[in-house]
């Protein structure tokens, strides 16, 4: 043998085949918590016994019994790991002189699975089966035979335990029947001597039915002693739960022998899945004992790790899953599929953006990760979990205001972020003019924000990449969730379509905010307005085989709103994508994806009093994309290479008359272009070396049609890491990016009136580079991560607007915008606590972001050509995000946000012009609004872990802006009736906003 192929197939049950000379059986399952009485009687020890297996009698074999699953466990002396004897081949076994018969093996009609002991009082014969059943409940069970355990993390004890149940059967009327419990049974079932202590004849059990004693015994028992014995739903649920326990536990504390041969190194590869749902887990860190050789699982849960031959320890880490450590004995390349279990406590406490020590495992910088659980539990306005608002709690990420669309990363503008949703590009990531983000947390799996070291396969934006992916559907059964909030509700449904092959996940959200807007007083400015949005997500994943997976996703969103008047804004996103993942024969991964994205916004300007001027204005961004990339590990190198192409077709503006309008239908020329790129990168991670490097080169091109124009250039990605200690790392890196599509805006944040524009005549591609360095230190037993990152960033050809610029339906838009160069620099300090009752992080950022016009336009040059503050330049920024867990069900979340007020342009002069008083404004962004401060609190109630419950309800009660501070969104000045200058402040959430949200899962 000495060759162990561990093949774990979830859902169909554990299938671990150990090719021993003795047994054809499964890998033995073992529970990972201390309890008594699970195995045969009350010991885990293997005792010598005999077994009649596959027609052969084996003697003096170490045996034990899994009294829960009714499996015979055997251990061959030369093989450390026990195996489960295949029951269909096991006739009987004998331990301590007692025979246990597999009645199904002998074809006894109606006999349950498992092994039976024959009891007799010399007159009546009864078969007894002893089982250990699984139960889990809160409460104190210490008095219950001392079984169970108390999880110290829980204030309320959560007891997982087994209890013993003996069942008795007799043969009655020719069928094998269970005897109902009762006094008569106890009286009748005094254990007697076994039928025989002699070596049984294989044929003996077959005579049982013909045994006059048994037959008589049965006949002498009262009829009420018999019951159907059908396993209840409760028991099935328990079995399912215990199956998961078994799956997890089966990996622990054992050594798996993989492959054969004498190679110096070998590659272990496989798939990591969620034990409960069967979903492939993306982003699981797979590392060796030292932590220096590692990889992350891809979107299909695949990993591949090359290690030195011999004994090793594989660690599997994912922030929401329980840690998994596997001992392996590598003799050659082979497969090892793993299942992981979600942390029960992660429901409240997984505020951690990446697992401990993650920062020390790669040379990349500025990567932030977050999962949907984290997002859901963050306090937010109106209780709706919000992806973008969660992103804003990370250091280096800012926005111009709390109800603004988009975000700014390390001084970049909001259009310099590539927002990918299942690979499709989202051009407007917000609902309800920025109050909600466009992503449904019900279906969101992971979000990853690359602030600094942007992987070489990404391109097209110069500041950051926000990569959001949706979950695969549950592979086991149909599940769903329903959430109700004050303004919105959301629903999700998922499950298998074809067992073990195809799953789906479907989610949707909508709002009913009109009721609130109608009730607002006129002074609010929004009275009588209408606002609505909805979005739908659909994902279908199909596994052709172990090496090929196809995932199809679709996303659609719609927004519409109007505030008093005849003007209605509408915009929508549509993204469809198809991704094929192929695991190559050499352990690499090929990803090919294609899709279509569309962003459209429409302004309906109706003049109820001037029908001649009514019109509808529409702008649209269409893009199709094709991406192909390969990742391949070769020794200490992980290579990635590939290419992608994006075809843009933009409608920069089309105006059509509505009603009796005299407006001439007019369309600006369609803009179209192709953006192909090729890339190659390498991650060099030598075994045992404190040094590691990541290098990549991407060459992006941009070819416009009508008129034909070409732009292009290389993009460099380089980063390095030096780790003098396992918990201390220093990193540095530099990367450059090109961007060929621009958001033309004259407001501080993304608005529906903004126009997207391709590079072309008069509008040059944006280019940017960033250099960064950081130190990362994990202390206090991997509980606290401390990181300090600094960066310097330059940007060129960012478009700002001229005073009085006309940005819609402008054939000469390039004449109304100006090119600017940008610079930003800053330091980000972050302390992150990863475990314990209190989890979360505190981050302080000091940064600056400034722009400078690149042309000299005389008096019209913005601020005379001097550097001026970008709208999102907020030098001091403090964020505190945390969760304190009282029990596994109850926790409190808090969120504190402080930042310097953002720059604004305010009037510094007044003058009379005509009959009116007019304002003269300061240099652009020369002043600041008051500092921003907000504290949010939320109390989370999670469902109990009652296995029998069909539905699980969770609730969050919270308050946004607890202190009721009137934070300024903007300040503005008006000349009241043309005579007085008056200043005002707009505060979007000017007082406490309590909320309640309910979520139901089934």
């Amino acid at each position: 043998m000495r060759k162990l192929v561990v093949c774990l197939l979830l859902l169909a049950g554990l299938q671990c085949y150990a090719q021993t000379p003795l047994f054809r059986g499964r890998e033995m399952r073992e529970y990972n918590f201390p309890f008594n009485g699970h195995y045969y009687w009350s010991t885990r020890e293997f005792v010598p016994g005999s077994v009649f297996f596959n027609g052969t009698l084996y003697e003096n074999v170490p045996l034990n019994v899994n009294a829960h699953t009714q499996d015979l466990l055997a251990r061959e002396s030369s093989f450390a790991a026990p195996v489960v004897a295949e029951r269909g081949l096991t006739a009987w076994f004998k331990i301590d002189g007692i025979y246990y018969y597999n009645l199904q093996y002998y074809g006894v009609e109606g006999a349950p699975e498992g092994f039976f002991q024959l009891l007799t009082d010399g007159r009546r014969n009864v078969w007894m089966q002893r089982r250990k059943l699984f139960a889990r409940s809160p409460g104190d069970h210490n008095g219950d035979k001392g079984i169970g355990y108390d999880d110290p993390d829980y204030r309320e004890k959560l007891i997982t335990y087994f209890y013993q149940q003996d069942k008795y059967y007799v043969e009655r009327d020719g069928a094998f029947k269970r005897i109902r419990p009762g006094r008569s049974r106890r009286a009748a079932m005094r254990p007697g001597q076994p039928l025989s202590t002699a070596e049984p004849d294989v044929a003996v059990p077959r005579t049982i039915r013909r045994s006059p004693q048994v037959k008589n015994a049965a006949g002498s028992l009262p009829a009420e002693w018999f019951s159907a014995g059908d396993p209840s739903a409760e028991r099935r649920a328990m079995l399912a739960a215990i199956e998961q326990e078994n799956l997890i536990a089966s990996y622990r504390n054992k050594t798996y022998e993989i492959g054969s041969g004498d190679a110096a190194t070998a590659t272990v590869s496989g798939v990591v899945r969620d034990v409960a749902s069967g979903e492939a887990l993306q982003g699981v860190l797979v590392a060796d004992r030292s932590g220096r050789t590692y990889c992350y699982t891809d979107a299909d849960g695949r990993y591949s790790l090359t290690l030195p031959a011999g004994e090793n320890l594989l660690t599997f880490r994912e922030y929401s899953m329980e840690d998994m450590d596997i001992h392996v004995l590598l003799r050659g390349s082979g497969g090892l599929d793993i299942v992981m279990r979600e942390k029960v406590t992660a429901l409240q406490s997984a505020y951690v953006t990446a697992n401990s020590m993650a920062a020390h495992r790669n040379a990349g910088m500025g990567l932030e990760k977050m999962n949907s659980t984290t997002i859901t539990h963050m306090p937010s306005a109106f209780g709706e979990g919000d992806v973008l608002k969660a992103v804003l709690t990370l250091p280096g990420v800012k926005s111009v205001g709390e109800a603004s669309s988009g975000f700014n990363v390390r001084g970049g503008s909001s259009d310099q972020n590539l927002i990918l949703f299942n690979g499709g590009t989202i051009y407007n990531p917000s609902h309800l003019f920025g109050i909600f983000s466009a992503f449904n947390t019900d279906v969101v799996d992971d979000i990853q924000l690359y602030k600094s070291s942007i992987p070489v396969q990404f391109g097209g934006r110069i500041s950051s990449v926000l990569d959001i992916s949706t979950r695969d559907g549950n592979a086991e059964r149909i599940r769903g969730s329903l959430g109700l909030g004050i303004l919105t509700s959301h629903v999700a449904l998922e499950g298998p379509i074809v067992k073990d092959r195809t799953t789906f996940v479907l989610g949707g959200r909508t709002t009913y905010s009109d009721w609130l807007l109608k009730r607002l007083p006129a002074v609010s400015g929004y009275s009588g307005g209408k606002a609505s949005f909805s979005d739908v997500n659909l994902g279908v994943t199909h596994h052709f085989d172990e090496r090929n997976t196809l995932k199809a996703t679709a996303y659609w969103s719609r927004d519409g709103f109007s505030f008093r008047g005849d003007t209605t804004f509408r915009y929508s996103n549509l993204d469809v994508a198809l991704r094929w993942t192929h695991k190559t024969a050499r352990g690499g991964t090929l990803n090919v994806s294609t899709g279509y994205d569309r962003y459209s916004n429409t302004l309906d300007r109706g003049y109820s009093t001037d029908p001649a001027g009514s019109y509808a204005l529409n702008t649209t961004v269409n893009q199709g994309f094709l991406r192909a990339g390969v990742q391949q590990r070769l020794g200490a190198h992980t290579l990635s290479w590939g290419g992608d192409a994006v075809l843009y077709v933009l409608n920069p503006g089309s105006m059509r008359p509505t009603g009796e309008s005299l407006v001439i239908p007019r369309s600006l020329d369609t803009e179209s272009a192709l953006e192909p790129a090729i890339y190659a990168g390498d991650t060099w991670q030598p075994e045992g070396s404190p040094l590691s490097l990541e290098a990549g080169l991407r060459y992006s091109s941009f070819l416009t049609f009508r008129p034909a124009k070409y732009y292009g250039g290389p993009e460099l990605r380089l980063s390095g890491k030096y780790s003098p200690l396992p918990n201390l790392s220093f990193k540095t890196g530099v990367n450059s990016m090109n961007q060929y599509i621009h958001l033309i805006s004259n407001s501080s944040s993304i608005s529906p009136m903004d126009t997207w524009k391709l590079s072309g005549a008069g509008i040059l591609p944006q280019r940017g580079w960033q250099a960064a360095a950081g130190a990362y230190w994990t202390v206090f037993g991997n509980v606290l991560d401390i990181s300090l990152e600094g960066y310097y960033k330059r940007m060129y050809n960012y478009l700002d607007y001229k005073s009085g610029a006309v940005l819609t339906m402008n054939e000469h838009l390039a004449d109304d915008v100006v090119r600017t160069r940008g610079r930003s620099y800053g330091v980000e300090l972050m302390l992150r606590k990863l475990s314990g009752r209190l989890t979360g992080w505190v981050a302080y950022t000091w940064s600056r972001a400034q722009l400078q016009e690149m042309q000299d336009r005389g008096l019209e040059t913005i601020n005379g050509g001097a550097w001026y503050n970008a709208p999102h330049d907020k030098p001091h920024d403090v964020k505190l995000v945390g969760n304190y867990k009282f029990t596994h069900r109850y926790s409190i979340s808090f969120n504190l946000d402080y930042s310097t007020g953002r720059p604004v342009t305010i009037p510094v002069g007044q003058y009379l012009y005509g009959n009116a008083l007019r304002l003269m404004y300061s240099e652009r962004n020369a002043y600041r609004i008051p500092d921003y401060f907000r504290l949010d609190l939320a109390f989370n109630i999670e469902p109990g872990h009652y296995l029998k419950a069909f539905t699980h309800m969770s609730a969050t009660i919270g308050c946004y802006n607890v202190t009721g501070r009137r934070n300024a969104y903007s300040v503005f000045y008006t000349t009241s009736a043309g005579r007085d200058v008056r200043g005002y402040m707009v505060s979007v959430f000017a007082t406490q906003i309590p909320y309640l949200s309910l979520n139901l899962k089934f």
């Binding site: 004050i486 929004y526 407006v663 342009t905 003058y911 009379l912 012009y913 002043y927 000045y973 402040m985």
Partner: protein
């Protein structure tokens, strides 16, 4: 809780705009401001001014004006020097200026700085194709329709409102203030009948628009704008209580001129919303010839103007209720007498007896209810006013 949540939310979103001020840097900005248009076919008025720090009292602004020499020049040889009127305003006789020339304003300040507008052709006057009043939900709406005729696509209108109104009551007796309190109740000592010259029942009032109205037909198949709202007058507004007149002066604008005025309006009034453009100053068309780095504000257009007039009868007026208009005093005791600067006894139909009016059987009214001048108007009836009220 069911009822509480909406209330809390309303509190949350109510009144999200608050008075606010930021301390501006204390720097002197004294850029030149040139306002006005060259009006061909009628006298032109151009006003020079300065930019003052925000918050400067209007009194200060009205005292300090740039002084210099202003000339309107035509490229066909026309030249007209401005005559200083007052408060920085110069008047030019451009009544006979030929409309087929291009014109510019040339400013020579006493400090030797020279400014000029660009040479511009004359924007012909649009045709007022409609000026009408129509009741709406919120009041009487006044609309204007304009036709750009041959080549005009951008429009501006300013207006002057004139209205006749009357006091609430005609007095029959007037209280005589200042008399000592009577020992007896002889009314004749404390009131008198009004003199015929004291007829303050009808008054006239007038005011001009502050913001110019702007409209554009650019992008339309025809250069007309139809039924653009000028303003809405509440039904209870005294302006439409007797006779109302709207005089609208319209002119044509270049595209740049309209954009400048629109921008000026927007950055003074339409800032601060979620999607408002970040405010900034838009350059005008006044440049400094002597020092190009000098900034001047203003956009000067060359226009012809036309006017249109609309009378509105009191058809839509709804009299409001003034709870303080009538006071019923049992007697003009000492406190009552000095309550108003002057008190009238009205001829209200409410009379408590059939006898001659006395202090005790008629209602009293404050002065503002019987003297129309107290409501801002004058007795100066325009010559062209169509009715015979005095």
């Amino acid at each position: 809780m069911k009822r509480l949540l909406p209330i809390l939310l309303l509190l949350a979103l109510d009144a999200c705009i608050y008075p606010f001020d930021i301390k501006q840097d204390d720097v002197e900005i004294k850029h030149l401001v040139v306002s006005g248009d060259i009006t061909i076919g009628e006298p032109t008025r151009i006003t020079l001014g300065y930019v003052y720090p925000v918050g400067t009292p209007s009194g200060t602004m009205l005292k300090d004006y740039p002084k210099g020499s202003l000339t309107i020049e035509g490229d066909g040889g026309f030249a007209c020097k401005g005559e200083y009127l007052a408060r920085g305003t110069y008047e030019f006789d451009t009544s006979s200026a030929p409309p087929d020339q291009r014109y510019r304003l040339h400013v020579k300040l006493n400090d030797a700085r020279e400014f000029a507008s660009p040479w511009q052709g004359v924007n012909q006057a649009p045709v007022v194709s409609g000026l009408r009043a129509e009741p709406s939900e919120t009041g009487l709406a006044l609309y204007i329709s304009l036709d750009g005729a041959d080549s005009l696509w951008n429009f501006r209108w300013d207006y002057t409102e004139t209205w006749e109104y009357h006091a609430d009551f005609i007095p029959v007796l007037m209280f005589v203030p200042g008399l000592p309190a009577p020992d007896n109740e002889d009314p004749s000592k404390i009131y008198r009948e009004p003199d015929p010259s004291e007829d303050y029942y009808y008054c006239w009032s007038s005011r001009s628009s502050v913001e110019p109205g702007l409209a554009s037909a650019e992008g339309q198949s025809g250069n007309v704008v139809k039924d653009r709202l000028i303003m809405t007058i509440p039904f209870t507004d005294k302006r439409i209580s007797t006779l109302y007149c709207l005089d609208v002066t319209v002119s044509g604008l270049s595209s740049g001129g309209r954009a400048y005025l629109q921008h000026l309006h927007d950055i003074s009034n339409n800032t601060g919303s979620l999607f408002s453009p970040t405010p900034s100053d838009m350059p005008g068309n006044i440049t400094c010839l002597s020092d190009p780095s000098q900034v001047a504000l203003g956009y000067l257009s060359v226009v012809q103007r036309t006017t249109s007039r609309l009378f509105v009868p009191p058809t839509y007026y709804r009299q409001g209720y003034d709870p303080d208009a009538l006071l019923f005093y049992p007697a003009p005791d000492e406190d009552g007498r000095y309550m108003f600067d002057q008190v009238y006894i009205t001829d209200s139909p409410v009379r408590f007896s059939g006898d001659a009016p006395t202090l005790t059987n008629v209602p009293w009214a404050p002065k503002r209810c019987v003297d129309c001048r107290a409501q801002g108007g004058t007795k100066n009836k325009p010559e062209w006013w169509p009715n015979s009220h005095k």
